[in-house]
């Protein structure tokens, strides 16, 4: 083998060492961030916030497209949130199913008499706006509009919100009762830096029991692929995002649960309709906007799981989702490539964006090339098996330990999965995952990249859902 392959070997080694070092640095930052968050929470408790007479008002915006299976239970859940000043805006994004009819019947909806105003952000035309005739549901507004996609529906909701803050979520999410109280804390505590986005942990509620729109009993999903995602989410939200939040380098506030100041979202023109990674793109655009205004800002993450969602339970749906995420990442990185090592954008340009390019966008590509090389080396007999096996064990073990650490940090700080059997199951999943779902994930990500590179037309993709397990008692 020539010097080229020798250099490649070194490249893979250095890349791996840097990546794993980053991961363990994340664990360190995340634990510090969780501690800081707990300290802040002990000085400004949810009870104090709940009892306050003046708080920023929030609009909860949830787009719904063919969510007929779960729409009623989810709207009930969103209506039962504890926060004194919030409005719920459900944007029916041109559903073909009976979502709207179900909503009209369940919540005594009537056509709003208020005329539809000119929209500060462009979105597909609004057909009609409904409010409830029942005072019990006075917080609820339904906007029925023509189909325009998730970003378009969110923009429509934001444009019609009359509050200080907007919380963007999905109609299929179960939100914790005290979620808004916890989400608003960074805005209440902010001093010099303006909080431009807040996110929180998202959990997986497949097979869990939902009662009256709230999570009653959290269960480990039955499907293996959903189980893996429980671990993935812990790793991503509790370790990754908390760590980035700690160094104010957070580029992504999840689309399923993100709180933004309405004013700033309107200033940047809302969500981008041309990308499937609209949450990542908005967060980057908000950061760029604040950098250009030369205003200090913060993107905050809350470690607690405040939002529960149904994860893909079959490989097919999982591939569709991850393929879309990969395309969204590619599109966003391409759109904001001017940030790459651009000193004008300070740490966002010099450190955080290059990390996203090198380790979020390129990691699957590096892994894919590495696998091809490995096969080539085996065929050509150019492999030192004793070292290769040890290195393989080490890499496998580091990956699994990283996941196990995320699980244990979660269990240490939050009670949701704090039973021996649940921890054991999740740690076991962390050790099996690299051989089972990880290759599927790699395939999905590469599929997404190929679609983008070779300009293959692709859409959002269908996300079939089973619906939550409900307890009617």
């Amino acid at each position: 083998m020539g010097p080229f392959t020798h250099s490649l070997d070194w490249f893979f080694l250095v890349y791996g060492i840097v990546l794993f070092s980053c991961y363990f640095l994340f664990v360190f930052f995340a634990t510090r961030a969780i501690k800081k968050n707990k300290n802040n929470a002990s000085l400004l408790t949810p009870n104090q916030i709940k009892g306050a007479k003046e708080l920023p008002s929030i609009s909860l915006i949830a787009p719904a497209y063919n969510e007929g299976k779960t729409i009623i239970i989810n709207v009930q859940s969103l209506l039962s949130i504890q926060y004194p000043y919030y409005k719920l805006i459900i944007v029916n994004d041109g559903s073909n199913d009976n979502s709207l009819e179900q909503l009209i019947k369940a919540f005594d909806l009537v056509l709003s008499t208020t005329p539809i105003k000119a929209q500060p952000i462009k979105s597909a035309p609004i057909k009609d706006i409904y409010t409830s005739a029942n005072p019990l549901y006075k917080k609820l507004t339904i906007i029925n509009k023509e189909n325009g996609g998730r970003a378009d529906a969110l923009n429509c909701g934001i444009a019609n919100a009359t509050t200080d803050l907007v919380l963007c979520t999905d109609a299929d999410c179960i939100i914790e009762q005290d979620a808004l109280i916890k989400m608003v804390r960074p805005y209440l505590q902010a001093t010099q830096k303006e909080v431009i986005a807040t996110g929180a942990g998202i959990g997986i509620a497949n097979d869990s029991i939902i009662n009256n729109g709230t999570l009653q009993t959290l269960k480990i999903p039955k499907s293996f692929i959903a189980k893996v995602q429980v671990v993935e989410y812990m790793r991503a939200f509790l370790v990754g995002r908390m760590a980035w939040g700690y160094i104010n380098g957070l580029f992504l506030v999840s689309g399923a649960f993100g709180l933004y100041p309405k004013k700033r979202v309107l200033e940047v023109g809302g969500f981008d309709k041309d990308t499937v990674g609209e949450d990542l793109e908005l967060c980057i655009r908000l950061r760029v906007h604040m950098e250009r205004l030369k205003l200090p800002y913060d993107v905050v993450y809350i470690p607690e799981t405040l939002c529960w969602t149904e994860a893909p339970a079959t490989p097919k749906v999982y591939i569709t989702q991850r393929d879309r995420w990969a395309r969204g990442l590619y599109e966003t990185i391409k759109k904001h490539r001017y940030l790459f090592y651009n000193p004008k954008y300070k740490s966002s340009g010099m450190l955080f964006f290059p990390y996203w390019v090198c380790f979020e966008l390129c990691a699957p590509i590096v892994e894919f090339i590495g696998l091809i090389l490995l096969i080539l080396y085996i065929i050509l007999g150019e492999i030192n098996y004793s070292i290769a096996i040890l290195l393989f064990i080490l890499i496998y073990f580091i990956g699994a330990v990283y996941s196990a650490l995320a699980i244990l940090i979660y269990t240490y700080n939050f009670k949701q999965y704090a039973t021996f059997s649940k921890v054991f199951q999740l740690v076991l999943v962390a050790f099996i995952e690299p051989f089972t779902t990880h290759p599927i994930l790699l395939y999905a990500e590469m599929k997404g990249y190929f679609k983008k590179i070779f300009r293959i037309k692709s859409t959002w993709g269908t996300m079939s859902r089973k619906g939550f397990v409900t307890n009617k008692d």
Partner: protein, 288 residues
């Protein structure tokens, strides 16, 4: 690199990871045990305070006192007990005169909190201040003053709040020289605390704050003027309309609108009154 040495290095890394995992797993279960113990303390304290409310001469069995004293010796043990007491106060809604001072003094919680006030850790001091004013330990108040302009946002907030809790409108005199920014929560809480105290005859402290060079001090004074409808501050506030600071001028506009509204009959508009109120009051301008 020598192959054997590489193998040893990899094995060493593996062992380190295993140790980390085991120690973290152990700490998870220690924590679980501790949360169970705290639950027990909560029940003990609730029962004791309940008996205090029923009998004028409360009795605390030595066993209970010993359990609480033992907990106090632990790191952050004071926090656990104080937290439980504060929570119980919120549930039972104890008036200022009936704070569970007997048990606080008996187990030495007040002196433990006082020690934390001298800590080097900002978080511990902030926590000690919070518990001091929430549990009504007025003798600690003197120590809050030094922290009103501290660089740590949580510490200065708690110190300022503590002074307002104990001194009411008199708390403003400690804010005249602050240079550090204020959070929205700080302003909200100060207003809430002041609501519990009668409006003073002289508003000289608020007037002085309106003349301050520091924008956050002016914002607090304007907030206060809007919240309590201090129309007598008209002459001091109207110049703020031309302030270069967007928040100040917006709050001054709200004051002007409030003044005008007070001089003409009220018209009730339709829609969600709660939300209209929220967006039209001072709060709505915080994100400008």
């Amino acid at each position: 690199m020598n192959e054997t040495r590489l193998q040893y290095a990899i094995l060493l890394v593996l062992i380190v990871f295993i140790i980390i995992l085991i120690s973290l797993a152990a700490s998870v279960f220690v924590r679980k045990k501790r949360s169970k113990r705290l639950q027990r303390i909560k029940i003990i304290l609730a029962t004791s305070i309940g008996s205090q409310l029923k009998n004028s001469e409360p009795s605390y069995p030595t066993k209970i006192i010993n359990i609480l004293k033992k907990e106090l010796k632990l790191n952050y043990g004071f926090m656990a007990i104080a937290n439980v007491l504060v929570e119980l106060q919120e549930i039972i809604l104890l008036p200022q005169t009936e704070k569970p001072m007997a048990i606080i003094n008996k187990i030495g919680l007040d002196s433990k909190i006082f020690n934390k006030l001298k800590s080097k850790n900002s978080y511990k001091i902030a926590l000690a201040i919070k518990y001091s004013y929430e549990l009504g330990i007025i003798k600690h108040c003197e120590h809050f003053k030094q922290y009103t302009n501290h660089k740590n946002v949580n510490l200065r907030r708690e110190a300022q709040l503590g002074l307002f809790v104990f001194e009411g409108w008199g708390g403003f005199k400690y804010l005249s020289n602050i240079t550090q920014p204020m959070s929205l929560w700080q302003i909200i809480r100060i207003m809430e605390v002041l609501e519990k105290h009668p409006l003073p005859a002289s508003l000289v402290q608020v007037k002085n704050m309106l003349c301050s060079k520091h924008s956050d001090t002016i914002i607090l004074a304007l907030y206060c003027a809007n919240h309590f409808e201090l129309v007598t501050l008209n002459n001091e506030i109207l110049p703020c309309l031309d302030s270069g600071n967007e928040r100040i001028s917006k709050l001054a506009v709200q004051f002007k609108l409030m003044l005008e509204a007070k001089t003409r009959p009220k018209v009730i508009v339709g829609g969600d009154k709660e939300i209209i109120l929220k967006t039209s009051t001072s709060n709505g301008s915080i994100y400008t």
